[in-house]
Symmetry: C2
Subunit: 319 residues, 2 copies
């Protein structure tokens, strides 16, 4: 059941009728500031506003008729829950999303609007509650990243980037559990091993920087950060080997850099991302991901879930 | 010296080394809300953040060696001044931009950063001061819209839209003096007369709605509006005949609709525009520009000059 280029290609065949081939944008207004030729793979323009839809569809489209009848479940307050709820609606099957009480009402409303059943609970008990839902309803639990079918779905982004910009030399990917970068790196290294794939994770939650050094998935403390979509406390055990084998670098990026890069991406690049998705640009800005002025660097802008109130944080960020 | 398709094609040949071919984005997240298949021609991603660069380059690249040596001048606090300053810098010639005291410091700084000489003065006397600059320095005055070379430059957007999305059925364009829509409509009607071109202007400054009804350029009162880049008090005399001949509709759009459409474009479409540039979507939202659910409608997002503070206005806008 290993993740292979063939599985990623099969995922693409499977999900292509349901997703958007998001634009790969050339953003010359950012070149001077970030010191390279900037491209953005705008997954913030994906349906439901994030790449998570790709993995969710690849998983759900492989369920048996029996499983489909019982439906799907996940514990998530964010992009994964919304993506899964959308996929379930598109296929006409039931979905239950367990959402912690700490999640903003907007996110709950977005998931409810897709017709999913929502179960609220305390933050600490959300996985336990999701397990109970699975036991009671027979629903299939769809994991957010630690699964080869999920990774294969996210890896379709790698196929698209290579086709949309064959001159790409480096791809920079936001990192949490490792499903996105694991999928992309596996696709890219199979097709074009000379193209570099680099990860960027919050210094506030450096699970991959630590784990790659230790040579095994290692738990870290997760501090609060504006990168609130990148909160895994350790690499996914399924994801880790693919990341270890295929990734050329991993930067642990400061909160301040994330906000500064986000402001540049929005006001100069004109693209609205969630804070987490500016982390690759931030890693380059901090010099933690080396680039050359003539290098074609593609930043995966993984999602765009952000509120007007959150944008207030940019006012105190200096140019 | 009439504006023709040939002149617009020649403009394109002339300016193509200097400008960005901006992306034409498919934004499916907006379809349901606006009731059509939404495309955006993202001139907010143009160098200097607005389409104005196209006309400025087309003008400056046709100056004689003598004129180039004397340089260029304009009275503008906004996108035209910035575009002209950039074009002058790219060609290594002097530029003087007259900016009223009322303009925000950020805009002044952007123009100074391009190496232009800036002359400040009272708002009412800016054209007089610009004329004096021309007399003193021999500089060539570059008008913001009322000029066929400027219009030909802006019309290159029409050529690009037809190439980038041959299935386009309607193009919606923000309107002030009429240089942008006049150029685009002339190109589009010459090549694909069945493609509709519609204008959208602020109800707070309905110079084209009134003038088209009167059959001649007519002065109107300009009220304050969030669409602060669309402030001409009457159609350009050069522009008006091209608009009258080639345009299929003209909507006068409310301020509230502009802000609501802008918020949708930003938070659902993930694209940062200036308020003025959301006016086409707003016109559709208000039902003043008719569309069908299966219709391919391209909205020209003319610019993206906006500050974090301006975005505060979106907080009070209901969904």
């Amino acid at each position: 059941m290993a993740l292979t280029l063939e599985k990623i290609r099969a995922a693409r065949e499977r999900i292509v009728p349901y997703i958007v081939k998001t634009p790969l944008l050339r953003l010359p207004a950012l070149d001077e500031y970030f010191g390279c030729r900037v491209f953005a793979k705008a997954e913030c323009m994906q349906i439901t506003g994030a790449f998570k839809l790709r993995g969710a569809f690849n998983k759900v489209l492989q369920l048996s008729p029996d499983e489909l009848a019982r439906g799907v479940a996940a514990a998530s307050s964010g992009n994964h829950g919304r993506g899964l709820a959308y996929a379930a609606k598109a296929l006409g099957i039931p979905a239950t999303i367990v959402i912690p009480d700490t999640a903003p009402q907007l996110k709950v409303d977005n998931i409810l609007a897709l017709g999913a059943r929502v179960v609220r609970c305390g933050l600490a008990e959300r996985f336990e509650v999701a397990e109970r839902v699975v036991k009671e309803t027979g629903a299939v639990m769809v994991p957010p990243y630690n699964d080869e079918d999920i990774m294969a779905g996210q890896g379709t982004i790698g196929l698209e980037v290579l086709e949309q910009e064959p001159a790409v030399e480096k791809i920079v990917v936001p990192v949490s559990g490792g499903g996105l970068i694991g999928g992309i790196a596996t696709a890219v290294k199979a097709l074009r091993p000379e193209v570099q794939v680099c990860g960027a994770e919050p210094a506030a939650a450096p699970r991959y920087s630590v784990s790659l050094r230790e040579g095994k998935p290692t738990k870290v403390t997760v501090e609060k950060s504006p990168a609130d979509a990148l909160v895994a406390n350790m690499p996914g055990s399924v994801c880790f080997p693919y990341v270890e084998r295929n990734v050329d670098g991993m930067a642990a990026v400061s909160d301040e850099a994330i906000l500064r890069a986000h402001k540049k991406l929005l006001f100069e690049g004109k693209l609205l991302a969630e804070f987490s998705s500016a982390i690759g640009l931030a890693g380059v800005m901090e010099g933690k991901i080396p680039v050359r002025p003539d290098e074609n660097v593609c930043f995966v802008i993984s999602g765009g879930s952000i509120s007007p109130e959150q944008l207030d944080r940019l006012k105190t960020i200096e140019e």
